[in-house]
């Protein structure tokens, strides 16, 4: 074996290598070996026998042709029999690539066993697809329920607690004015300060939980408010391009809320981490979808590396939320070349 220029192998390695040869090649090889062996045997027999026996020559020719014919037929049959296995193989390759919509195509050539294997694989794939759809549906419901709950608590804080605190401050102001007592002035001031502080805290908390601007005035107004909020105290300009028509009634709440959150995360990233000086937020809609783009001129980052390090980072969790609504999401960024966040959501799928 070493003489043949091959690396030395043990016998068992050769056996394993031979076993791995595709079936069609094995059958063809075996047939060819049989034909060659038969021909060699016939030659040997002829050499020992008296020369120029025409019957022997004819017989030899017939046997040789029959063997060659059998080789061709065998090879063809095996190749045909293996065709359906290729369908299984290509389906498996599609699944490995992540295409779960693929199915094994039924073949007229397949025998019962192969048909059954293909059928079982298709059943499994159907089950997998149903489970994935259910998981996605459940995840969407959980996210939606979470959003609704946050919005509800924020509204309650804003509508009841904050109103009561505002009324408290009003009453304190009126009481102080109606019953002026110099020895109480400092106390009144402290109490009013506490009340006003609590009111401000409740307002901020409600805001952080859910933007009232988004609910009351729609996404365009909420984005412009967000931009003003984020650029406050920072050395950057945020340009918002949003059609005024994108009001509260124009977009389904689930879509408006996800796009708002994406803008929030992208702006936080641009301001806090990328130290951008200019950010462009643009919102566009048509009958089919709503698209949000946030582009900054900041430091940029290695998306794959950041994802590996912090998959729970705000921006990355947005990817899932967009997928839940059947949309597309992309973060393009490079060190020193800014960041672009893109999300587009279909309007008809929203509920």
């Amino acid at each position: 074996m070493a003489l043949l220029g091959l690396s030395p192998r043990t016998l068992s390695e050769w056996v394993r290598a031979l076993l791995r040869v595709p079936l069609a090649a094995k059958v063809a090889g075996a047939n060819a070996l049989i034909v060659l062996a038969a021909l060699a045997a016939a030659m040997l027999v002829r050499r020992g026998a008296p020369a120029s026996d025409s019957v022997d020559t004819q017989l030899l020719l017939v046997v040789g042709l029959a063997l060659a014919g059998s080789f061709v037929v065998n090879t063809a049959l095996v190749l045909l029999a293996l065709r359906p296995l290729q369908a299984l193989e290509s389906a498996a390759a599609n699944v490995a690539r992540g295409d779960f919509d693929t199915r094994v195509r039924p073949s007229l050539l397949a025998d019962r066993n192969v048909t059954q294997v293909g059928g079982t694989i298709n059943l499994l794939l159907n089950g997998l697809a149903a489970d994935r759809a259910r998981t996605r549906q459940l995840a969407a419901e959980i996210v939606g329920a979470g959003d609704r709950e946050r919005a509800y608590i924020a509204r309650e804080l804003h509508d009841s607690v904050a109103q009561t605190l505002a009324a408290l401050v009003m009453q304190l102001g009126a009481a102080e004015r109606d019953f002026p007592a110099p020895q109480l002035a400092a106390r009144f001031a402290t109490i009013k300060e506490l009340g006003a502080g609590a009111l401000e805290e409740v307002r901020m908390l409600a805001h952080t939980m859910h933007s009232p601007v988004l609910d009351d005035l729609g996404l365009a107004a909420a984005l412009s408010h967000l931009a003003r909020q984020q650029s406050h105290g920072a050395e950057l300009s945020i340009v918002v391009e949003a059609p005024d028509a994108v009001g509260a009634a124009e977009l389904p709440p689930s879509i408006a809320s996800v796009l708002y959150r994406i803008a929030q995360e992208a702006l936080t990233n641009a301001v806090r981490h990328a130290h951008a000086t200019t950010v462009r937020v643009s919102l566009s809609t048509n009958v089919r979808d709503a698209t949000l783009e946030v582009e900054d001129d900041g430091e940029g980052f290695d998306v794959a590396e950041a994802y590996a390090r912090r998959p729970g980072m705000g921006l990355f969790t947005m990817r899932e939320r967009v997928a839940l609504l059947g949309g597309r999401f992309a973060i393009t960024s490079e060190r020193g070349a800014g960041t672009r966040v893109f999300a587009t959501l279909p309007l008809e799928e929203a509920t």
């Binding site: 109103q163 505002a166 009324a167 009453q171 304190l172 009126a174 009013k192 009232p212 408010h225 406050h232």
Partner: protein, 183 residues
Amino acid sequence: MSKAIIRVVLADDHAVVLAGLRAILSAAPEIAIVGEARNGEEAVALAGQLDPDVLIMDLSMPGVDGAAAAKHISNAGLRTRILILTMHQEEEYLVPMLAAGAVGYLVKSVADRELVDAVRTVSGAELPVRHGPAKAGEMPAVIVDPSRAHAAGWSPRFPSLDDGLIGVWDEWSKAEVSAPVTT
């Protein structure tokens, strides 16, 4: 200083807030509360029946909200001047309110100090008492839109923006470019 009575209608869906507003306004003898509404619909009806000088109205109310009620009232050609009193400190709320016909906008958290002056200002009875200048980036407590005021037959004289809490919409919105609002 005019001592004519300023007739006021209050509209807010929170009873505690109405009580707070009454307590604050009770200090001003020239201000008389002639009616109280618990939603936008009642506010529109009272504005029509009572013909008040000023309607102090919450922005968020169930059913017909402050913006819709303001639109009704200004479309009906009533002379009542609308002062929006709200929890919302975001500029985004202000613009549609002024467009709907409100002449003033006051944030609830400063109502105990500013409400009486705001009512006087909006009614046109008296120029506002001057306060210290607003902090940089802070929305003035009261915002008035002069073009709206003129349309309503009111020619107020405004203190300049630097004078403090009473802001003129045009000037303030321009200043806003360099001094963003905090929320």
